[in-house]
């Protein structure tokens, strides 16, 4: 187990340590040879094309080597051949479950380089849509993770409730997955008539769904047995691998860019709690995301109450030319820290864009994390880290 050097809470540690000890002895005595297991690239637990070459000693993993790049689209190169408004289309497809949230940091970067600011109403609508995509992403996770330990019912609940949220996003932006709704300086359109009331009632559905998941999954004995004490990321190891977002908060690191980073969108105006869990195991990652889904729904409700009136688009020149300069912008996306280092040479397109995506770093801890775990636990650990292949490969 990866639990050896962690001082996490009592129940998480060493419940199965005795078994492991016994196994290790048996393996030494019998001198069993290693076996190579190819997990993927088309494995249902990887949600895409991630391949992990696992060397096994009996049922336990000796080394794990993730092989990525099956989905590599070279976005950093492509941005150099696009104008700033055209780049939005590309970055929509990095993390395709929360596309709207991907657009926000890039728009922020371009706007700050151009010294323009989106109007307050646009900022609020951006905040609402970002949190809606967080809810949509996490609802899928809450169902999917349960499916990986054999519970099929939550999947349908997750998909059903995510549908309501996607309907909202579609009603506002016209796109379910790739809204492409942000413009430099604001938004394409205002919210449609009746949308705010609709959104309010949907948030009630989401809050109820969270209660359902809590009853269905978190109280489940099998789920606990499969996730408690499994795949522990200690709080001093996660940051050195660049693990961010809910995965890091589940290790007890109290760090959320919405609260701690440079102020962006309407987050300074909102009152919200950053949830952490001390254990760092698969269970706590599920628990933290469940709480964050609730928190996101509450934040949407707050935004709906406080949404200012006014235009949704600032005065922007017809042809977007960004002055020379470089800027680093980071935001708290559903999967973790997302950032763009944009270098402009004063042209209509960026000179260089470094895309820092959350899943890339979250998955880079796998060789360390999977060492010594059992094969079935590999699946639950992969599911609990919750990555999107497009976000790894870019």
């Amino acid at each position: 187990m990866s639990t050896t050097d962690t001082p996490a809470t009592g129940f998480a540690v060493d419940r199965s340590a005795l078994h492991h000890l016994a196994d290790a002895q048996v393996n030494v005595e019998l001198d069993t040879g290693d076996m190579i297991l190819n997990l993927g690239p088309q494995h249902p637990a990887t949600h895409g094309t991630l391949r992990i070459v696992v060397r096994l000693d009996g049922e336990r993993v000796v080394t794990a080597d993730p092989i990525i790049g099956y989905m590599h689209r070279g976005y950093e190169k492509l941005t150099e051949f696009r104008t700033y408004p055209q780049v939005t289309t590309l970055i929509n497809r990095i993390d395709w479950l929360s596309s709207f949230a991907n657009e926000v940091p890039f728009m922020d970067a371009a706007e700050r380089l151009m010294s323009i600011e989106a109007p307050p109403r646009a900022k609020y609508i951006r905040t609402i849509l970002t949190e809606l995509s967080r809810i949509a992403t996490f609802l899928l996770f809450l169902g999917e993770m349960a499916a990986q330990v054999g519970a099929l019912t939550p999947v349908f609940y997750g998909f059903r409730d995510r549908e309501y949220v996607l309907n909202l996003i579609e009603a506002a932006t016209g796109g379910r997955f790739h809204p492409n709704f942000n413009r430099i300086g604001g938004l394409k359109d205002d919210l449609p008539w009746g949308w705010i009331a609709e959104c309010r009632s949907t948030m009630k559905v989401v809050l109820n769904a969270c209660d359902d998941f809590e009853d269905l999954v978190l109280g489940n004995e099998i789920f606990e047995a499969r996730t408690r004490g499994i795949g522990i990321i200690p709080d001093h190891v996660g940051p050195s691998y660049g693990v961010s977002g809910s995965n890091l908060r589940a290790s007890g690191v109290d760090w959320d860019l919405r609260r701690d980073g440079p102020p962006y969108l309407a987050y300074p105006d909102l009152d919200f709690k950053v949830w952490t869990h001390p254990d760092g195991d698969s269970y706590s990652r599920y628990w933290v995301r469940l709480q964050e889904t609730r928190e996101a729904a509450r934040m949407v409700l707050q935004c709906l109450d406080g949404i200012p009136s006014g235009p949704v688009m600032a005065k922007v020149p017809r042809i977007i030319k960004v002055p020379e300069g470089e800027i680093w912008v980071e935001t708290e996306n559903p999967l973790g820290q997302m950032g763009y280092y944009v270098i402009s040479k004063g042209g209509t397109g960026p000179f260089r864009v470094k895309i820092r995506s959350a899943s890339f770093s979250n998955v880079s801890i796998l060789p360390w994390l999977l060492r010594g775990v059992y094969v079935p636990d590999v699946i639950t650990i992969l599911a609990s880290l919750y990555f999107i292949l497009g976000d790894i490969d870019r």
Binding site: I68, G69, H72, G74, E76, K77, L78, E80, F81, R82, T83, R112, L113, S115, H236, V237, P239, S240, Y241, G242, V243, S244, L248, V253, W255, D260, G261, P262, R318, I319, K321, P323, E324, G325, E326, I327, W328, E330, Q337, G339, Y341, I343, K345, G346, G347, T348, G349, F351, R352, K354, R356, F360, S361, S364, I365, W368, D393
Partner: protein, 228 residues
């Protein structure tokens, strides 16, 4: 040293120094001495350029003295402008207009290639960007893997995309690209092959702007200027 680059219009209005930046800069200058070459503030982000020989030492200082326990990313920049239509390297026809001479960004550079990284503190909520020069034909620089284990994949990506070698890296092999891939795609002289095979279709049907006024020259990509 800590002067803001004159090219940043947004920073002119806010000359008040950030105490976090001052503290980080002081610690770095204390530890690196003359190897801290230049520093700048680019939109509230401290950018520090260090000598290539101190690249790993800078990471150790950032981790141990600046409390930056979180590795955000490591990558590189190729400052050379991309060749355009008519240039020898068979440049792209659709790239948005870019300057033709080589200029450097915040904190300067000594040559074409630069390795840069961003580290942050999860407890102190501060961060900084570190840069180092690797020259015109990238020379090797020390790996950060002993300092931040997460540097592994970032450096593999940086190596295959830019050709920057990281000394003491445990396994510098391809990350995204197939093993037999030749060249370094993110270098500016590596053409975007899709555009070489088929020119950007947007060039052919340029829609007239509403109101009948012709598009401003700046909006027209490079290749179109030759056509008119």
């Amino acid at each position: 040293m800590a002067d803001e680059p004159t090219t940043d219009p947004a920073d002119d209005a806010q000359p008040t120094p950030n105490p976090k930046h001052e503290w980080m800069l002081g610690q770095l200058r204390d530890a690196l001495d003359a190897d801290l070459l230049e520093s700048a503030v680019a939109f509230d982000d401290l950018v520090v350029r260090v000598a290539p020989g101190s690249w790993r030492h800078a990471a150790e200082v950032a981790r141990d003295r600046l409390e930056c326990d979180y590795l955000c990313f490591i990558s590189a920049i190729d400052w050379q402008p991309a060749p355009r239509e008519g240039d020898d390297a068979g440049g792209d026809t659709s790239a948005p207009v870019q300057p033709t001479e080589m200029t450097f960004g915040a904190a300067g550079s000594a040559g074409r290639f630069q390795v840069f990284a961003h580290v942050q503190s999860t407890g102190g909520h501060h961060g900084l960007t570190l840069k180092t020069d690797v020259g015109d034909e990238p020379s090797a620089v020390a790996s950060w893997v002993p300092v931040y284990p997460g540097a592994d994949w970032h450096e593999r990506e940086c190596w295959e995309m830019f050709g920057v070698v990281f000394d003491d890296h445990p396994a510098l092999r391809h990350l995204y690209l197939p093993n037999e891939f030749e060249g370094h795609p993110l270098r500016k002289d590596f053409p975007l092959l899709a555009r070489v095979v088929k020119p950007w279709p947007g060039l052919v049907d340029v829609e007239a702007m509403p109101g009948g006024d012709a598009p401003e020259p700046a909006a027209v990509p490079a290749g179109d200027e030759d056509a008119s």
